[in-house]
């Protein structure tokens, strides 16, 4: 007997402006199966999920649920079609009890009390069926993360969901909770539910899914049964093929390291160990790329190197001068004066003040320098001159420094930021996500510029979520996973598969045996 797939999409497209977030995505999720979706950050997973959940509407293509062509105008319509989503960030009201959270939005028209009594009866049945054991009368705020996730899942089942979309469900869980979740997924499957499991951790795909779809750059790269694939094959599909290197490179000067990181550990904002015992050197005339799945310590590393975060252990030294580094690396201004430029990874969050004019942003971080300010007064004509120069040198458009930064495109904002950070010819440049949110035209220009700086003998450290980008511009690639340095691979030995596996944290040691030559110096 032929059973229609629980969810099927045909040539689904979604554009945001000129960017194709989803490009002819065709997906088949069989009834009663666990289907995995993997892809890097920005590959288009979230966009796809949001269309399946009725949050976005596709520009073209078909959505077929249980054999019926439908269009989902809102999450409520998706719920009605039996599709529920468990978000990465839970949608629970913390002070409410578990029961109240489950009933919330499904109270019906009667009195709340009655709704709760009805709900309790129904939940008892669900509990027995799926083996939940949740404290219904406790406020959600007292629950562990794993329990909260189960509340979300129970909430979805309570509303009659047949298909559950789990968006990176393991990102917030401990290993033990992960195992429990996998048990639950298997149980749900055995009871006939369909699961769409989204992750970028390959071993999870191998552990729980029946079939898997790999998405890269908005397209489906491969769809296969899990049994007939391997982590290596998935990793390669995930990160794509090697981009040919068109730029010629000068030699790296392996003298005294420009920047040396020794056994550095640091805590995150939430006092987790975000960096653990990291050591590496950065030399003049090289680009050191830092790869990793988002949230594995890259942000904290950037902050440590730019004076925004204190190390809890170890030290960073500049040009071999370890003695005064403690002071320098706690003050962004001294660091800039010492010749370390910083292109912030999240431009709008911290790299610019979006509501202020481009002119005023052109001096951010350098506003205390003598040519911009004397005796506490701003030197407006010098600032004006600098802004005009930046606009001219980097071809920032429109050429109007009076406009607030928010009204420039991402690429032009980034050009302004880069102009500002290289204006004082820093010997070291720390760059986070050089082309995030930047239009295609500007990407090449920024890459060329990074290479030009390298060839001019500068030392550059580039953190990027875009592995293709790192492969194109780096001399060596360092991979972070879970706050640890998995290894550093020279570009000549780096390929997508190796890096992809290192990023996923699997089999790192066996892969990088010979790949740490940069540290021998």
């Amino acid at each position: 007997m032929h059973v229609a797939p629980a969810i099927e999409t045909r040539d689904l497209c979604k554009r945001f402006g000129d960017v194709k977030a989803n490009d002819n995505v065709s997906l088949v999720v069989d009834q009663g199966s666990v289907h995995g979706i993997v892809g890097e950050n920005g590959a288009g997973k979230s966009t796809l999920l949001k269309m399946l959940f009725g949050f976005y509407q596709p520009n073209s293509g078909d959505l077929i649920v249980n054999g019926e062509h439908i269009s989902l105008g809102s999450p409520a319509e998706a719920m009605a079609a039996g599709i529920a989503m468990v978000h990465q960030h839970f949608m629970l009201v913390e002070p409410f009890t578990v029961l109240e959270n489950i009933v919330l939005g499904a109270e019906g028209q009667g009195l709340l009390k009655q709704a709760e009594i009805d709900a309790k009866a129904k939940l008892k049945g669900l509990e027995q069926q799926f083996g939940f054991d949740l404290p219904f009368d406790q406020p959600v705020s007292q629950l562990s993360v794993g329990e909260r996730q189960r509340v979300e899942i129970l909430k979805a089942l309570f509303r009659g969901a047949d298909t559950l979309i789990l968006d990176e469900p393991t990102a917030v869980l401990t290993p033990q909770e992960c195992d429990q979740l996998f048990e639950l997924i298997k149980l749900l499957k055995s009871r006939g539910k369909t699961i769409l499991f989204v992750t970028h951790k390959l071993h999870e795909i191998m552990a729980v899914t029946d079939s898997v779809t790999v998405i890269r750059a908005g397209r489906v790269i491969v769809r296969t049964d899990t049994a007939s694939t391997s982590p290596e094959a998935l990793a390669e599909a995930m990160v794509g093929s090697k981009i040919s290197r068109s730029v010629t490179r000068a030699d790296t000067d392996h003298g005294i390291p420009r920047l040396s990181v020794q056994n550095v550990s640091a805590l995150s904002d939430h006092s987790h160990r975000a960096l653990q015992n990291i050591s590496f050197d950065l030399f003049d005339g090289e680009v050191l790329g830092v790869a990793g799945v988002a949230g594995n310590g890259q942000t904290e590393l950037l902050e440590v190197l730019t004076g925004l975060r204190r190390v809890s252990d170890g030290f960073v030294s500049l040009s071999g001068e370890a003695t005064n580094s403690k002071d320098v690396f706690t003050d962004p201004i001294s660091l800039r004066r010492a010749g370390v430029g910083h292109v912030a990874e999240d431009r709008l969050k911290s790299g610019v003040v979006a509501s202020m004019s481009a002119r005023e942003n052109a001096i951010l971080g350098y506003h205390r320098e003598a040519d911009f300010c004397r005796g506490g007064l701003m030197r407006l004509s010098a600032i004006d001159q600098a802004a005009n120069d930046y606009f001219e040198n980097q071809d920032v458009r429109p050429r109007n420094p009076d406009l607030p930064v928010a009204s420039f495109s991402g690429g032009n904002q980034q050009k302004l930021v880069i102009a500002r950070e290289i204006a004082r010819d820093p010997q070291t440049l720390i760059v986070g996500q050089p082309t995030r949110g930047v239009d295609i035209g500007a990407v090449t220009k920024i890459h060329d510029q990074i290479t030009a700086l390298r060839n001019a003998g500068k030392a550059l450290l580039v953190v990027s979520a875009d592995l293709d980008e790192l492969m194109a511009i780096s001399d060596r690639i360092a991979v972070l996973c879970d706050g640890k340095l998995v290894g550093i691979v020279p570009i000549s030995e780096a390929d997508e598969r190796t890096i992809g596996l290192m990023m996923a944290g699997s089999a790192a040691s066996s892969l990088v045996g010979s790949a740490t030559e940069g540290q021998d110096q």
Binding site: A344, S350, V353
Partner: protein, 369 residues
Amino acid sequence: MSGSATKLPGVLESVLMPMLNILVALLASGLVVLALGEDPVVVLSLLIEGAFGYEEAIGYTFYYATNFIFTGLAVSVAFHAGHFNIGGEGQAMLGGLGLTLAVFWLGSSAPVLSIILAVFGAALFGAAWAFIPAWLQAHRGSHVVITTIMFNFIASALLAYLLVGPLQRPGGQMPESSDFPDGTALPQFHELMEILGISFEQSPLNLSFLIALLAAFGVWFLLARTRFGYEMRVTGQNSDAAKFAGISVPRVTVIALMMSGALAGMMGLNELLGEQLRLIGNFTLGYGFVGIAVAFMGRNHPVGIVLAAILFGAVYQGGAEIGFEIPKITRDMSVVIQGLVILFAGAMPHLFRRPVTALYARFAGKGNK
């Protein structure tokens, strides 16, 4: 921000929008007046006449405006640094105390010196009163909105204690201090005009109006021309970017709020050193709170604040005048009318943004075709 397709040109933004708000406020007040059985047009004309109709009225209007300039600037300076200082009331009280102590300390022996010291005393005490909430905000994360409002109560209790105790006028029955020593008063406007040979009716308008204008200029200069002003604005708009740029956010917070407190504190110059010539228990009369509306209506720009302050001064003075002339409009009614103006003009500045923007977009679109 990026969602709004059309931006209003500056003229519409800064002139038309406030005008619309005032108009609606007047219409709403007109309805209230009508409900009382009075003619709104008569009341409106009385209000305008009472605020600008003769020299003394103008004097009073600008006298009230002086208070609002100080408190409006105070709110705005804190706001530029990203904080909502609603403790203007308490800071003004302490400023009043500071100047009172200064004049009594020096006495009438050196009036000019004592006035100068009073100006500094007012600013210093206001700043000091803002320091504690500022420090708690910067280093302990206690929200200034909560702490400054609590400090208003403390200031009011402190002043009441002093004015029925150590500072009370000997033999006096009201919570007020003795008269300031002879000569320690800010020259009044008509006296200044007399020196220039121009006769102007007597009114409480005094030198502190010029001090307020000077303060407005100073705030503009601070924000637009100084490094600290720049750091303040960066901090206020995006504290992450401030950290990125190496700006010490706690330091900026403390200094900005203290400047705010100093400006609020100087309000006492006008009320006490300009007119009452003694410290009175509740001389602040809510001017510190009205400063919030003034700052918002003036779009947090010193010029806007001066203009908004004059408008509020006119409403205060004109409103009192209505009370004099029309018995049916009791003082509670004139408070209602003032409240409506504050509500529409100050507290809801964006009420008409959408329709006006839509209208503008339509006309601008037509013009382009």
